[in-house]
């Protein structure tokens, strides 16, 4: 499924491990590679992704836990779909993040599609005043920065 440029951000990346390992690293080692800093998560927080459909992606730190997303599809080595609220969407607001792990020469092509932004109003603070592809470009850059942490972590593990 490919949505419109204003609805969806799509990021492709490469990690130098095969798809089963890439999926395992993405899910089980998320606390090790999910980048820290003001754009990503609190410096002292912990991230965990509970395995299986219905599992939660949770950031904990500073005495609170934030559910960033919830697993809709869990296909080890192939595909992960999360209902996504991140830090910025409230109850009743959600988007969807699909992560695909595709075999590629020397490793895995990781494809992240973050869709459903059409349903998030133009005045929503998450947009920072941006709409259309200017906004989804920003979302794509955020995921590209996030997945750079995965790439570097996977390379160190080889």
């Amino acid at each position: 499924m490919t949505a419109s440029p204003a609805d969806s951000a799509r990021v492709t990346a490469f990690v130098a491990v095969e798809p089963a390992a890439a999926f395992a690293i993405f899910t089980e080692e998320i606390d090790l590679w999910w980048r820290r800093g003001p754009r990503f998560r609190a410096a002292d927080s912990a991230m965990r992704l509970e395995p299986g459909a219905g599992g939660r992606l949770v950031e904990t730190g500073g005495g609170k836990a934030t559910e960033l997303g919830r697993v809709r599809v869990w296909e080890p080595g192939a595909r992960l779909v999360l209902e996504w609220r991140g830090r910025d969407l409230g109850a009743g607001e959600s988007t969807e993040v699909e992560v695909r792990f595709e075999a590629a020469a020397g490793g895995t092509r990781v494809v992240i599609e973050h869709r459903g932004w059409d349903a998030i109003g133009l005045a929503h603070p998450v947009r920072g005043g941006l709409d259309g592809s200017a906004f989804t470009d920003m979302i794509g850059l955020w995921w590209a920065d996030i997945v750079t942490g995965l790439r570097a972590h996977a390379a160190r593990r080889r």
Partner: protein, 135 residues
């Protein structure tokens, strides 16, 4: 009197820092179409200075040295981005994607440019663009 800039260089040159500069040189040549001009390897395996060519421009890079430069992997936010003009954005995009570059957005027409956004393995942000102006 010396010529400035020296032959083969432009007046303003990006100078990037990488943790793994040898890997970065390999990546930039394979994915983005740079040519290696030269490198000064240090005894510990780091790169003291390297220059890559891109058409008639050059890019400088070096390994991270405390106080001289830091990899974006360890920066809390985006420091800068590099904006490059290419002749065929779609061909450049396909090469970069196939070579494993992280693609943040596919080629699209915007503000009189066709462009795409990529992130290199250590997080430097790149825009590759071609003007849509027919003149």
């Amino acid at each position: 009197m010396a010529t400035n800039p020296p032959a083969g260089m432009q007046r303003i040159i990006p100078y990037l820092t990488y943790d793994d500069a040898p890997a970065a040189i390999e990546f930039l040549c394979a994915a983005f179409g740079f040519d290696e001009h030269f490198r000064y390897p240090m005894p510990d395996g780091r790169i003291g200075h390297a220059e890559l060519g891109f058409k008639d421009n050059v890019l400088m890079l070096a390994s991270a040295y405390e106080g001289f430069g830091e990899t974006p992997l360890r920066l809390p936010n985006v420091h800068c981005q590099i904006y490059c003009f290419v002749d065929d954005v779609d061909a450049h995009f396909a090469r970069a994607r196939d070579a494993g570059a992280t693609i943040a957005s596919a080629p699209a027409d915007e503000h009189g440019m066709r462009r795409y956004r990529a992130v290199d393995p250590e997080g430097h942000r790149w825009v590759f663009a071609s003007s849509l102006d027919p003149s």
